[in-house]
């Protein structure tokens, strides 16, 4: 990765990271979106935008599922999804040469775990520094001095952006070459294992999501639809549109039924 690309991605990571807490919170900081954007940027630079975006989305989507239960409730700081998804997507796109697509994505996802934890640690430090800014402003108000709350907020956002940039730069700058070296020195059996891991991680991601939404009554519907779609998908020549329609219609019907049931219960 060239220094210019590293700079662009880090600046972008800092910007997207603002969305996670400080600004807007429209969820462009979620791993699914960050993975897609990272893949698109790297794909565009390599002249393969579509395949880059798809690879980035696969890695980002996987990180999204694995951390689906991380909630920013109260003062809890969940793992940093931006730096984690960016690292996973960049590894998946940049290290996929030689038919090692799934292996590169899997090693990227494995690396995203410590990266996310490092990002969360950095955010804790940033919030402690922001507390100092807030305390200074309160002291100034006590003394009767004029305080620009907008300026204070801008400074705090600047601090958050800088934190995001530094974490992304560190993880991409050091992490991607290190992962490339590991992947290059793995025996063939290791690469094969990582390819399997990619699919096992998807299963784990879905299990994490099922655990998050766990409801005993819903399990039989979920299992039933899984079975029907698995049979339809493998035993019959059913189109992709039909599969998608069945999945969405099944989920919507179950959700509406449960919603109506809950409304009746409230009454």
């Amino acid at each position: 990765m060239s220094p210019l690309v590293l700079l662009i991605l880090s600046a972008l990571g800092g910007l997207l990271g603002l969305d996670s807490t400080g600004a807007l919170q429209v969820m462009v900081s979620r791993p699914l979106v960050v993975g897609g954007i990272t893949g698109l940027v790297l794909g565009c630079l390599a002249g393969a935008a579509e395949s880059g975006a798809a690879t980035g989305l696969a890695a980002g989507g996987l990180v999204e599922l694995l951390w689906i239960g991380g909630l920013p409730v109260g003062s809890v700081v969940p793992p940093d999804g931006v730096s984690a998804a960016m690292t996973a997507a960049a590894a998946a796109v940049l290290l996929r040469n030689g038919g090692a697509g799934e292996a590169a994505a899997a090693i990227g996802v494995l690396a995203s775990i410590p990266v996310g934890a490092l990002g969360a640690r950095a955010e804790v430090i940033q919030r402690l520094l922001t507390a100092r800014l807030s305390a200074r402003a309160e002291c100034a108000v006590e003394r009767g001095e004029a305080v620009s709350v907008g300026g204070l907020l801008a400074a705090a956002l600047g601090l958050a952006w800088l934190r995001g940039v530094l974490v992304c730069a560190l993880c991409l700058g050091l992490g991607i070459p290190a992962l490339g070296w590991i992947l290059g020195h793995l025996p063939l059996d290791g690469v094969r294992a990582l390819k399997w891991c990619f699919w096992l991680f998807w299963l784990l991601g879905l299990a994490v999501a099922a655990d998050h939404f766990w409801e005993r009554r819903g399990l039989k519907y979920a299992a039933g639809l899984a079975l029907v779609l698995a049979i339809l998908g493998t035993q019959y020549d059913v189109s992709q549109q039909m599969i998608l329609s069945l999945a969405v219609a099944g989920a919507a019907a179950a959700g509406l039924w449960r919603w109506a049931h809950a409304l009746r219960g409230e009454e």
Binding site: T21, I37, A54, L133, L206, A207, E215, Y221, A222, V248
Partner: protein, 257 residues
């Protein structure tokens, strides 16, 4: 005294930055004061009174950022009445903040953070795997639309509702019946998980088109159910991630390629 539409609109836009200076000591205090600044300018032309009001609004505050609009609206109304000389006006502002913030935080956390966001993300992931190519690349847009349509609608109109209803805004939020919607969304999301799991073996990797290298679909689903069982037994996902990697390595060494 009343606050103009323009001031309320500015407050609404500023509420998108409520957590801009979130800190462990006073949490959303700076963001709250930032949202209130246009109202304070309009209500207190005297700098000394304005500074005193700003000091009150720099006190600790924390709630769910999406539900904060209701509290902001109700507090704006109370602040306007306080500026107009209403008795116990300042206490009412403090009371609104302290009573509504925890209650609405609980509702917002359960609906937006714990349900709508993961359910929308799951819809995006399902779209990525199940939509025909190249429509599958729109997965992030599907996620963002599913999440932000209700989210932004609530954020854009909640300050106005809070301003109109005042302290009675809690009744309005209760009438939205978000807990019932939460239950419905959770059920839909769980069924969607099943749908994606059932299809995963067939559809292939979004970019390479590679199929799941485990031939038997039902063995694949069985492995997923085992992972779910372990998660229900409180095994952490990170532990399972490591176990999956180790298991795959051992299998790869045992089975000749």
């Amino acid at each position: 005294m009343t606050l103009s539409w323009e001031v309320r609109f500015k407050t609404t836009l500023r509420s998108l930055f409520l957590q801009g200076a979130w800190n462990f000591d006073r949490m959303q205090n700076v963001g709250w004061a930032f949202c209130f600044e246009p109202a304070l300018r309009a209500l207190y032309p005297d700098p000394a009174r304005r500074a005193a009001a700003l000091k009150r609004h720099l006190e600790l505050f924390n709630t769910h950022p999406y539900m904060a609009g209701y509290i902001l609206g109700a507090a704006l109304k109370a602040e306007a009445e306080a500026a107009g000389g209403a008795e116990d006006g300042e206490e009412r502002v403090a009371r609104i903040k302290s009573s509504l913030a925890p209650a609405l935080a609980a509702v917002g956390d359960a609906f937006f953070w714990a349900t709508l966001r993961p359910a929308s993300a799951l819809l995006g992931v399902a779209w990525l795997w199940l939509a025909p190519h190249p429509l599958h690349l729109a997965a992030p847009l599907v996620f963002l639309a599913a999440y932000n349509l209700p989210g932004l609608w609530l954020r854009m109109h909640s300050i106005q509702v809070g301003y109109e209803k005042g302290e009675g805004v809690a009744m309005h939020v209760a009438a939205l019946r978000l807990p019932a919607a939460t239950e419905g969304l959770r059920m839909a999301a769980l069924v969607l998980v099943g749908a994606v799991a059932g299809c995963l073996a067939r559809v292939g990797h979004p970019e390479t088109g590679a199929r799941v290298p485990i031939v038997d679909n039902f063995l694949f689903l069985g492995a997923g159910l085992s992972m779910l069982l372990l998660l229900r037994l409180a095994v952490r996902p990170v532990v399972l991630l490591v176990l999956c990697t180790l298991g795959a390595l051992i299998l790869a060494m045992a089975i000749p390629g």
